[in-house]
């Protein structure tokens, strides 16, 4: 059996103790580069000390080649609100400090559930817009959209939650991640480029919500 991937390195002692007692092999990494050429069954991201780092790691795992390995996120109860808008980054979560039995049960559930392989939808569809998450292709009215990487990521994020209003700050932290230094006007620049590429007919799919942010989906009168 492939080992579990643990982050950070060194991983929290209480988690290691549980895994060792359960006889589950594991390997810890400090960042995404450590996952290269590494085969693992599932990942446990302990985001309790450094939530931003944990989210960045979870995001990196999702984008990696081993996108199919499920992710368990460990998080403090006080940080639960941070999960909002990030549900695509993990398959299950556990509030830490976790009861050892609960942690083990969740890990085993994750491993068992993964036997089926697919755990996330690979297609996002809205009207005539289709995003294929596996091939990175975006198509509208049957015509492919020529998007850059960040434009694609932004559209994917918005299209996953139609009708929901996101502030620029939320978009910046969820799509670009905390590692990005630029300001929220980066979001405006990319939104404007996305609208340009969607073309006149579909530019309205991304609406500006005045003094709040942006929303994806048809206008009510559209």
């Amino acid at each position: 059996m492939d080992p579990l991937l643990l982050w950070p390195d060194p991983p929290p002692n209480d988690l290691v103790r549980v895994l060792d007692l359960a006889g589950l092999p594991w390997v810890a990494v400090t960042d995404e580069s450590g996952t290269r050429d590494l085969s693992y069954s599932a990942a446990v991201v302990a985001a309790d000390e450094d939530p931003d780092g944990g989210f960045a790691m979870a995001r990196a795992l999702r984008r990696g080649d081993l996108q199919s390995a499920p992710v368990l996120l460990m998080i403090r109860g006080t940080a639960l609100a941070d999960l909002d808008g990030r549900h695509d980054l993990f398959d299950d979560f556990c509030v830490s400090p976790a009861h050892p039995a609960e942690f083990e049960a969740r890990v085993r559930h994750l491993l068992a559930a993964d036997i089926g392989g697919e755990h996330a939808s690979e297609i996002i569809q809205y009207g005539t817009l289709v995003l294929n998450l596996e091939t990175y292709q975006a198509v509208i009215d049957g015509q492919p959209l020529d998007l850059t990487y960040m434009e694609y990521e932004l559209l994917k994020f918005l299209a996953a939650s139609p009708g929901r209003v996101f502030t620029r700050e939320i978009l910046l932290s969820r799509v670009w991640g905390y590692e990005y230094y630029g300001g929220a006007r980066t979001v405006d620049v990319h939104i404007r480029r996305l609208r340009a590429k969607l073309g006149e007919v579909h530019a309205g799919l991304i609406q500006t919500v005045r003094s709040v942010g942006y929303k994806f989906g048809e206008a009510r009168w559209g």
């Binding site: 984008r63 850059t148 230094y181 630029g182 300001g183 006007r185 404007r192 590429k197």
Partner: protein, 453 residues
């Protein structure tokens, strides 16, 4: 927004995405774009299977035939594609897709090549970043549509309309519309586009973005405008003053500095909302305006646009409402002051190398900030008589390329901003251009003197 600013892992995702796109969309040819020192677009095409290696190792080529790339000893350089700038060629829906990607040019040891304008702008932007600023630009690009590119006679405009005219049955407004569509699908958002003052003159205003992305956009825009025109048998020109007696083409550029989400040019409590940073930036640009003009206005012809009476700046001043001022401070929309406070640099023309032009303007402004330069009061409209304007040479922009090169040659600021290699090459090349012009006997002279003397 530049790849150089992204952590390695993110840069790798960009590369993976680009490689995936190339595969999924069956791209047959990848064009590697870069720019020579004079601002002409250059391209090397590679097969998509080479792209992965190009990201890792660069693509080696002989730079000696590229203007400004030649060096005495080693002429080979490496082109490294910037995955952030990858774009499928819009409008090409055929089976054989092509894509373009901008490159940074490096020496064989991997260090930035000093003759590459894009690397020069990157270096100046890094210096701005070290001082805590991000530099945003939004140019207004003017150009003419002409019946042909035949340069033997007077240029023939396609219409006789004027500013904001809505012309029906107007071929050029249709070409302009198709151009905008091409720009937008290429990810270059257009803010406004309209018929300008002179016959057959048009303007496209781009929506602001970071300076490097904008310099890339200006390069693409010049190509797209020409391509779309050519498809209709029309020639588009960015020559600064193609027709005597009417306005020339400028590239007024709106500029601002940002610190994270904060517009560093805005201060709610200051006069006109202009922060101390903005005031020193303006003062710095004005102080060095003469020195940087050879770069922002690099042609003999550029100086035929910079004359009084055609809405082009001639004297070195700033104002909020005087359109003959070199720097205008536009009044932002109400309640948009925090976003919209900016300055507009008005001498620059569309035949510049945007990487170098943005570099020297930025360097002059940053120098002003570093020195805490004091800004003189704004010039009131028509406050100076023509005689007063002439009285002090220092208050005027250089009135020909030769004078501009003299000022540039003595400028430590421009030398540092461009780097020794480009500085020396540019001066040599432009002195030669001026020399050729100086010995040319023009139709003006023949008409005036041949019979009279």
């Amino acid at each position: 927004m530049n790849l150089g600013d992204l952590p390695d892992a993110t840069a790798e995702h960009h590369r993976d995405y680009v490689l995936r796109m190339v595969e999924e969309r069956r791209v047959r040819l990848v064009r590697l774009w870069f720019t020579d020192v004079l601002g002409q677009l250059k391209s090397v095409a590679i097969s998509p299977v080479e792209l992965d290696a190009a990201f890792e190792e660069g693509v080696q080529f002989d730079g000696s035939a590229i203007d400004g790339f030649s060096r005495v000893q080693e002429s080979d350089v490496l082109a490294f594609p910037d995955p952030n700038s990858f774009q499928l060629m819009a409008g090409d829906r055929s089976e054989d897709m092509t894509a373009r990607i901008y490159c940074d040019i490096a020496n064989l040891d991997g260090s930035p090549f000093e003759g590459d304008p894009r690397q020069v702008l990157r270096r100046n932007l890094r210096e701005a970043a070290a001082a805590g600023y991000e530099f945003m630009c939004a140019p207004e690009v003017e150009y003419f549509y002409l019946a042909s590119d035949d340069s033997s006679g007077a240029p023939q405009p396609l219409d006789h309309a004027s500013y904001f005219d809505l012309t029906t049955f107007d071929e050029t407004s249709d070409i302009r519309r198709r151009t905008i569509q091409r720009l937008e699908t290429t990810g270059i958002p257009v803010e406004y586009a309209f018929h300008e003052d002179a016959p057959s003159q048009h303007e496209i205003d781009l929506r602001y973005t970071d300076a490097l992305g904008m310099a890339d956009n200006v390069m693409a825009l010049r190509m797209i405008v020409r391509e779309v025109a050519m498809a209709s048998g029309v020639h588009a020109t960015f020559m600064p003053k193609p027709m005597e007696g009417v306005q020339g083409s400028g590239m007024h550029t709106h500029l601002s500095l940002w610190q994270g989400d904060t517009n560093a040019f805005y201060d709610a409590d200051a006069e006109y909302g202009l922060s101390a940073v903005a005031r020193s930036f303006i003062a710095g640009v004005l102080r060095h305006a003469g020195e940087i003009t050879a770069v922002t206005n690099q042609l003999v012809n550029s100086y035929k646009r910079l004359v009084a009476g055609f809405e082009a700046p001639v004297h070195i001043s700033w104002a909020r409402n005087d359109r003959s001022a070199l720097i205008r401070v536009p009044v932002p929309k109400r309640n948009k002051e925090a976003q919209g406070t900016r300055i507009e640099y008005r001498s620059i023309d569309p035949a510049c190398n945007p990487y170098l032009a943005f570099s020297v303007i930025l360097a002059a402004g940053l120098r002003g900030i570093a020195d805490g330069a004091e800004l003189d009061p704004e010039s009131a409209e028509n406050s100076l008589t023509e005689a007063e304007r002439r009285s002090g040479d220092s208050a005027l922009l250089p009135n020909n390329l030769s004078a501009a090169l003299d000022l540039m040659e003595d400028s430590e600021l421009v030398r540092t901003a461009l780097g020794e290699h480009i500085f020396e090459w540019f001066l040599r090349n432009k002195r030669a251009e001026w020399g050729a012009y100086r010995t040319h006997v023009s139709s003006f002279e023949l008409e005036r003197y041949l019979r009279a003397w």
